[in-house]
Each structure stands twice: as structure tokens, then as C-alpha cells.
Symmetry: D2
Subunit: 345 residues, 4 copies
């Protein structure tokens, strides 16, 4: 019962095939070959952004940190929520790559940045003694499994742009969000005012690739240099590109996302039948935040269930303890059923 | 009517004399002379800390940033309040000097860090994916004009030490606090568990000197190199040292602080007589946070009063608007009276 | 005729198989699985270093920069040759990761750091005004295709250690060197006084993996945090580990290196028969630095030969122009012959 | 006999007077007062640069590092000589402030950067794998006591500009150079193609002030933020400005420089009479590099002479050992005579 993360499942067979294909023969290093060119073109097509600058890196932290470093200056503030991956889970990578910019936290509601709180936080800047307006960064799907509507994104973009700041979108689960919202990649990004996207693949069936997309390519040359300086330019870049190429072929990216979302929906439906399960945030994509009694956690644990448990297993059996449950594209029905069955115990 | 800041008044005549004295003749640069040696010895004496490492720099931002950089690592979190000078007024200097450590905000009450909130904030760390425990930094007098008791400092120190973190004290107004609490410098620092102090002089009658005191000198050599690397090693260091030497001679530092505090007390007493003045924080040293109607602000402004006004002068005359009023050692009675007189208008 | 680089050939089939194998099913992310454990154990075995800390990253620049950042401090000097990859080809990554340490260049002879020049360069340090002794970094195989003997490495290690500095070895072509010298990995590293190795795989048949080995694991925890902070911790780490696992199974790493070296030897032997070819450095592993007339370059170029040419193709046909020719494990005889045949033209 | 440095003598009385004057009464902090405005205007006047951005900091290292950080990007190379103060004596401050730019050394002759070597060093850049063209930095008076002619500066500026790089001039001894060359400040800076100057005062009779002058003010706002972030914005800025104001009043800066140069000329003339004294570089301003037998060093040392001696006092009495001798504005004739007299011994 593997609900710990969507980065723990297997790579999709079509992606593995693409890697094997990419290995035929010899190719110039550092992206001077066909596969990289083709994969970049596919990203531009999917995003309907023929002018966009597109770069591949192997981790989400690299994608976010390099994108933010390209967009901001060391004496800036970057606005994000307290739950943001860039704040909580990147061990100060944004501070490192930006040369010391400050992450300024903006109040959120179920993981969604509040527009009024952003306006208020921006309003506090202004003096030469404090940081300057740098960028706003939001995450879609949020770190609490919720979704911004396109209008909400557009509103945050307006606020950011009014303060002369670009809007960055951490899209580690971009595909899952697109699939739920039924919108295009363009609609969820530049058409809503997003200036740069970390377009995730690793949590959705790739071996390890994220694309950074800068819709305004003006600073793109800087990204290239920062990527090299960060040790993120792969000599055998074709093996990053091949994954992204397969991902965007025949809608594989959306198919996998739909499978993950469907699995999470099934899990949600099952857990809603169980009285003692509380939903801490309304799940909208492939990630659930629920609480249930410790006794259930113990039972699940003894049976080898893997997921992020927010408390210790020792203590009063009735105490409610949180859990994060994540489904990826490969989650089979029987594991969901097996998980649910434990609540009959 | 000069209430804008305690860094706007004149340098004390005894300090100017010391500078003139220090200018007699020739001296080896970079602190290899008597005055620096004597001034360091005085700091160690006043703090009853014969082993402490003592360094002089010219600004409070340099003192704080260098102290924190010496105490932490780039992948660490530094805990401070939302109002902390290091968070609000140093334009990312701590992030710069530490190489990208993260300032993690801890809830405060009237500018004072809450012990329970610190415990809770520390509890959220722990994963290798997020920042590591680095240091706790508090300010005494706080940025809201309030004071920690010695017990409160000791409690925060215990919490920090239990998490293997040192406690740094931003003492830009250290003297003002000592004077009010009637305690020794040692009692308000290492005896209460403080590991490093930025001991301010600039806001209390010096031209521009702060001492950084590391009670555990183990990492002191690192401070020296970081100071040089930051461009804060003065070749003519005797002119920093001479100021600190005069400051700590015959209790001048405490005398000036007492004068500043007395002036603020007089201003407080006067404002308490005025019904429409609200105290936003209970003033305990030389800094007042009050609110009063815009009409009064307008009258004061027209008469040339200088202070930090938290709103605009245009708008409804009855609206309450905040003000920060600060007194330094040189504040004469007649200016306080002049300020108060405006409320008779 | 693909002589541009040893990072342009295909991944070895056994490595591709290992990736496919690693993709069976589900595994905890971030290295909490069997394959990572097994691959680390193999590295320790091959290096006869049961206590060593072992980390996998995807690029050589990341390996070098993270290793050096772990070994040094921002106010330090790192000694290397003018040709060092860390100096010439990493776009300031070492400066970035170390927080601003200085690369101090030491004279070299055919790419080999001169011991007397290292002694002299170290002797210039000492003042608090300049950088402090940080680390010495050498490359084996050097960037000029030459090799240090074990004694030469040991001598540089002694000089470094006498100045309290560790010795880092950039082993992007470690396997090629081991194969030529006929020594063990341990003999070419810790037994010769090397403290940390960037053990390359990418240039020798892997898709993209380098191991960083710290023989003294004292600072290993720091490496982990710096790697995460640099965005180099892979969630699906098993796919890095699987490559290294295959690499060190049944001597594949040495077999591939031997093939590459043999191909280069064949090319060398052929070129030595040609009077107008000059050897700029004596090739010792899989990389040749030769010069020959422009007319030959033109002929090769017209036939699609790919290699690093040190001049322009336009100009006097007799002018001698340099070339760097590199062979990887997959270089077939017929391409070498095809290259040589052009000199009959 | 104080020949150790020109930062060891007294502050000029007119400067002390200006400080006392500046201390009359109260002034808004951070430069919002008359003295700062007046001093900036004087700098612009002296440099005939009405549009220039002018900033005051307290140390030369801060001036250089902040200027270079404003002019370059972290992935850049900064070209300087091996003897440059920024390379040898600033403990990696340029690397720190620039966020990791690389100091790339250009061959020099008697401390003067060679134009051909600069051209050649620039020519080696170009790849995305290495650093990009950032800035060229030269020092006038050089660190070896020699001077660039105006034509030589103009030639280096042309080379820099052709590569799209600005030229920075470290003018710690700018006044001494101007005085010798008999040129204006404008001629030795922007009229010769210099884009930014660190205009020194500390080594020439001030307590501790350097002005940074950016002739193109486009990036000036960045300088302000970087200065604050570096902890180099003085709250009581009037005390920096007052020194510079006095310095540029009635030609004091040139008078003091002329005195220092004259003292050095006298010392030079005396030493030239002594056969066993060798001039290592031809002294052109206020700094001499000479060598003489150890026996003379011993005699001077025993009599308390202070200067930078390049060797140890123990050893064969006839061995030639280098010395750096520096004169400041306050050097009296009798000390020069006293120094020379030791060679009669």
C-alpha cells in the first residue's frame, strides 16, 4: 500500500522505451542534438508559446530555484505561502540560488495564497532598508492538494504585476491540475498571467525531468548560465529530453495525471464512507489530507502501509492523527481497496 | 522636535574628545595598537567575560549579519520575530552574510518573542529536506520599545540550547535596557544564556561603533575573516576603538541611556494625560509607539516635528494614526514640551 | 568520426538493463531503498573504504562543486591548475557552491600540477587580509590527457596536508587512469593521500552519474544538506544508484575504460606514423592533444569528423592547428581507421 | 620611522575640524541632510561629472567589492593583475559581494596590466561552460607603486569596452596619481574610458572614507541596495560626508597627496645614493619597492623602523631582502633622514 508519494512509483514503459531509443548511437553533448530540439518544440506547442524559452533539469528543486534566481535579485523578497515547497522542502535552495533573496510568507487558506494577504504583504515593502519586490510564487496543485481556479491565478498575477513582479508557478503536479480543471496548459499559465512555470514530470511517471518555461525569453540566456553554474547542465542531455518528448506525445502526460487523479478520487470516495475519517482539506487532485484515529494508523502500519503520518504511533488509540495520501499514475485499485479495508478492522 | 530616531542626535563630546586624542600621532593599522587593545579589555570587563572575543564594526547591520554568519551555516534556519530588525530593516543582509540561511518567523507579543511559539517553530524542523536548526535571535530593547525580563531571556535561551542552537541578542539599545532593568551587562547576556551580543553604541551617542561579543571564542577566528571579507575591517581601527573606549569609561554608556530613557518617560507621562493618545505598546525604554488623530499629526508636521508616521497626512482628521517616537541622550526638555503643546491646539 | 568527447557515446547495454530492472515496481524515494544501499556498498568495496561516505549526483560539476564546498570555507583558497575543469569549464560553480572561495592557480606542466609551484603558491598565503588555505584539487586523467603517477599524487597530498588542506581528486576519468596505471582505486586515492574523490561514470558509459567519496565521513552530513540545497537530491534516486551498481559489477567500469584507452592507443599509433602530426602532450589514457596542418582539418571537417578544433578552418593550409581527440568505450576500429585515412589525402 | 603604510598616520586637522563641525546638532540619518548632499556635489564637481552617482563607504574593500558587484553578474569573470588588491588583500570580498564571480588574472609588468595579456585573456572566454565577460579592474597607483599613463588607461578601456565590459579603477591612491600626472580627476577617469572609480581618502589623510563613483548612473539604485545589504549604509552618514567634504575643499586632497609624493621622492633620492640598495620597481608616487642586505634590515629593525619586510631577519647578512616603504602626507623629513642614516652604519 504505497501512498507515500507520487515520486515512488515506476517510470511509464513508454518513457523507458524512449530512453532506450535515445541510446541508439552517438549524439553531441549538451543538447546539440535532435531529441532536445524536438522536446523543446513539443513543450512550446503544448503551451502554445512559440517564443518561450524552455529548459530541462532533473529535479523540481533545481527548476524552482533556477527559475526564481533568473527572475529576482539578491536584495528582493519572493512571496509564497507558509506551506510552499520552496519554503519548506528545499533546504534553502531558493535563498542559495538567488544569492540571498528572502522568502516572505503570505497567509494561505487550505494551501491557497490569499489575494488580500498578498496585497497586504506587498504593501509592507517600500523602504530601501528592507527587501525589494522580487517575485510571487504559487504552487498548482497546492501542497495541500487543493487547486486554484484560473480566475484566482489571474487575480494573483494582476496583484504581482501591479507591483512589477513576475508570477512563478511551481507546477510539480501541473498535469494533475490541468486534468482536473479541463483547461489547456496555456490557459493555466501565460493566459492567466503566469510568467514562468516549473513544469513537473518526475511526480507523473518520468524518471526525473522538469521543464522550466520562461514565457518572456528576455532573461533566458541568464538561465542557461545559472543552470551550468548550478551543475544542472547534463552532458547527455538527450536522456532528459527523451523523457519529456515521450511525456508530451499522444497526451501521455494527461493520461497519467488522469489515472492518478482517478485513483485519488476512488480513495476519497471510500474514505468518505468512514465516519471516523476527517478531511482536513478538500482533495481536488491526487493528494489527500485526512485525519483518523491512531488505532487505524497502527493497523495500517502493521500491515506495511506507507504514507506520511503526522504523529507518532504510540499514544491514546482514539486520538486523531493526520495523514497525507498520494496516488500516482500506477496506483492499482486493489491497493486502494486494501487500504480501505483496514478501516473495517 | 526631533523624535525620528536615536541615530540622529549628536555624538557625545567625550567621544569626540576621544577621537581627537586618538589622532595624536601614528599607529599601526588594523587594530595592532593600544587603543583597540584597551577598548576590547573594557568590553570584557563590563561584561565580566575575560575569555570573550570582542570585535568592532561600524554598523548594526554588519554586527548582526557577521555574528549570525559566524554562528550558523547556509542551510540553517534563524528564528526571529516578524518585527526583528534583521528581518525588516537589513535588506537581506543576514541572508547575504550567512550564504542563504532562512529567517524563520516566530510569533511575538508586543515585539517580544513568545516562548511557546519558538518551541512550536523549532518542532517543525527535522527533515533533511528543510532547513536545519541554526540560531535564535532576539532584540533587547525590542523593535516595539518593550523589554524582556532576565527570566524571559533565560527561558528562550533554554529552548534554543535544547535544540543545539545559540542565542544571539541584537543589542542596538542594550544600554537602554540595562539601565531600565538595573542589571549588569553580564546578567542580561551570558548569565541569562546569551551566546553572542551585538552591543550597540551608534544609537547611544557614538559616531558609529558596535561591538560583537562572542562569549565562546571558539569560532572567533572565523569572525575575523568574515569581517575582512565583508569589507568591515577598518585600517584606522583606532577610531572605532576610541569611541568604544570612551563609551565604557566612567559609565558614560549607562548615563546616556538613562538620559534617553528619562526623556522618553517624560514624553510618555505627558502623552498619558491626553485622552486621544493611545499607547500601542507599553513603552519601557526610549521608544514610544502611540496613535492619535490625524489632525494632531498634521499640526505637528506643519510645525516641523520629525518622527516616523505610520499613515498619510491626507484623510479624515479624526482617524487614528500610529507614530514611533524615539528619544536619544541629547533630547532637551523643551522639545518634549513643545511636542506635547501641540495637543492643546 | 566521433572524437568530440567521451560523453557523446551510448550508454552501455548492461547499464540500460539495470535501469529497466530498477523500474520494477515501487520504491521509497530519496535513496531509502535497496539499490542505493547496494551501490554505495559496491563503491566502498571497490575503494576498500568501509567507513567512507558515498553520494551520487548526476553531473561532474555538481560532484566537484559539492565536494569542494564541503571541504572548504568561503574565505578560503582552492589550489588548482590553470587547465582544471573546475577553473575553465564549470561557469563559476565552485565559487557558487563554496560561497565565494577563490580558485588560486598553480603552474602546471602538460596539465600536471607542479609540486614546487604548489609549495610556492601556498607560501604566499598567511595574512588575514587574503584567503586562507582551503583545499588542493587535481584531476586524474588530467585535462591534457596525461597522468600523475601514484608517487606524484602522494607528494601533492603531503604538501596539502602539511598546510592543513585536504586533497580533492576530480576523477571524471578515474577509470581510465586506473586502467592505465594498473593500480587499485584505493591506491590511486586514499592510499596516496587523497581525501575526497569525484568518481566519474558519465564519461565512461553511464547515462549520468558521478559518486562523491569522502574518505573521512566527519563532514558527510554537510554534504547531504548541501546536495539537497543545490537541487541535486533525486527523488527517484534508485535510477542513479542502478547505473553505479551496474558500473561496478564484474569490472564493467574497468572494461569500458580499457576499451576507450585501447582505441586511443590505436589512434595514437596511427597518428605517430604521420610526419606532419605533432603531439602537444604525450597521450596516456583516452584523450589526445595533437596539431596538424589546416588542410587536414579541412578534409576531416568536410567528411563530417567531429572533434574539438582549436582554430578556424579558414587560413593558410600549412598552418598547424591543435585538436583534441577523445575516445570512449564504444569507439569502433573502423572510425579510427577512417580518421587516419584522411591523412593520406 | 613609520613607513609601513599610508593608513597609519594621523587624520588631517582640517578633517577633524569638519567632523567637529558636523556634530553640531541634529540631522536626519542615512544621508538625508545637507552635508552628504554637499559632499556628493563636490565629488561630481571635481570629476566634472554632473550625472554621476556618488556613494560613500568606510573602507576600500567595501568600495571595490560593491562597485564590482554592481557592474557584474555571478557567472562572470573579472580581469585583474596578480598583484591587485582585490585579488590579494580582500579575503575574497569580491567573490562574496558578486555572488561568486571569478577573478581572472592578467599578466602584469611592474604592477601594470599588460594590454596584450588582457586581450589574450579575454580571448579565452566565449564558451557557455566557462565564465562570461564581466569587468576589468585596474589600480592606480598600482600595488607596485607604478603609474599608468592616461593613454595606457585609455587602451585598456578600449579593450574592455570592445568586449562589452566596463573598466573599474581602484583608486585607493587616486590623489597621489593625479598629483604626479598633473592631470584632472576627469582625465584620469571617464575621459580615459573608466566607468567606475573607487576614489580613496583613507590612505590620504581621512579617518575612513572612500567614494564610489559610477559615471553611468543606470545601475546606481542597485548599488544603494547592495550597500545596505552589505551593512555599509551608515546611519550617521554625515560623518562620512563631512570628511569627503573637507577633503575636496581648497584642494586638500591634492595637497596631501603632493606632500606624500614629495616625501617618497626624497626617500628615493636618498636610497639611490646607496649602492647596495636595488629598486625592484621604479617608484612613481608614494610607495617604494626596494631590496637591500639583511644586515641593513636588522639595523633598521633594531632601531624600531616599521615597514613591510619581505623576508626573515635571521640568515646570511649579505642576502638581499625586499622592503615596501610607504609615505603618507604627514611624513616628516627627519624620519626620512633617520631611515637613510642607517645605511651609513
Amino acid at each position: 500500500m504505497r501512498f507515500a508519494s507520487d515520486n515512488a512509483g515506476p517510470v511509464h514503459p513508454a518513457v523507458m522505451d524512449a530512453l532506450v531509443q535515445a541510446n541508439q548511437g552517438w549524439a553531441l553533448p549538451y543538447g546539440n542534438e535532435d531529441i532536445t530540439e524536438r522536446a523543446c518544440a513539443r513543450v512550446r506547442d503544448v503551451f502554445e508559446a512559440p517564443e518561450a524559452a524552455v529548459y530541462f533539469v532533473a529535479t523540481g528543486t533545481a527548476a524552482n530555484a533556477l527559475a526564481l534566481a533568473t527572475l529576482t535579485r539578491p536584495f528582493d523578497a519572493i512571496f509564497c505561502t507558509p506551506e510552499a515547497h520552496i519554503e519548506e522542502d528545499e533546504c534553502n535552495a531558493p535563498e542559495f540560488y538567488t544569492g540571498g533573496a528572502k522568502l516572505t510568507l503570505v497567509d494561505s487558506h487550505h494551501g491557497l495564497m490569499r489575494a488580500d494577504a498578498l496585497t497586504s504583504a506587498i504593501g509592507k515593502l517600500g523602504s530601501l532598508h528592507g527587501p525589494q519586490p522580487g517575485a510571487v510564487s504559487i504552487t498548482q496543485v497546492t501542497e495541500r492538494g487543493t487547486l486554484y481556479t484560473l480566475d484566482q491565478i489571474a487575480e494573483l498575477a494582476r496583484i504581482a504585476h501591479n507591483a512589477n513582479m513576475p508570477l512563478h508557478l511551481d507546477g510539480a503536479r501541473f498535469a494533475n491540475a490541468c486534468s482536473v480543471l479541463g483547461c489547456t496548459a496555456a490557459e493555466m499559465s501565460w493566459k492567466a498571467g503566469v510568467d514562468a512555470v516549473s513544469f513537473g514530470g518526475t511526480k507523473n511517471g518520468l524518471m526525473g525531468v522538469e521543464a522550466v518555461i520562461l514565457f518572456n525569453p528576455e532573461k533566458a540566456w541568464q538561465f542557461e548560465l545559472r543552470r551550468k553554474r548550478g551543475g544542472h547542465l547534463f552532458s547527455k542531455k538527450r536522456f532528459l529530453a527523451a523523457q519529456m518528448d515521450a511525456y508530451l506525445t499522444d497526451g501521455l502526460w494527461l493520461d497519467m495525471a488522469a489515472q492518478a487523479n482517478a485513483a485519488a478520487a476512488k480513495l476519497t470516495a471510500g474514505l468518505k464512507q468512514i465516519d471516523r475519517v476527517r478531511f482536513d482539506h478538500a482533495p481536488q487532485a491526487n493528494m489527500l489530507y485526512v485525519s483518523f484515529p491512531r488505532a487505524d494508523h497502527q493497523r495500517l502500519h502493521n500491515d506495511g502501509a506507507q504514507y506520511d503520518c503526522k504523529g507518532t504511533l504510540d499514544g491514546p488509540p482514539d486520538e486523531m492523527i493526520g495523514a497525507r495520501l498520494v496516488c500516482d499514475w500506477s496506483m492499482p485499485d486493489h491497493l486502494i481497496q486494501q487500504f480501505l479495508d483496514h478501516f473495517d478492522g
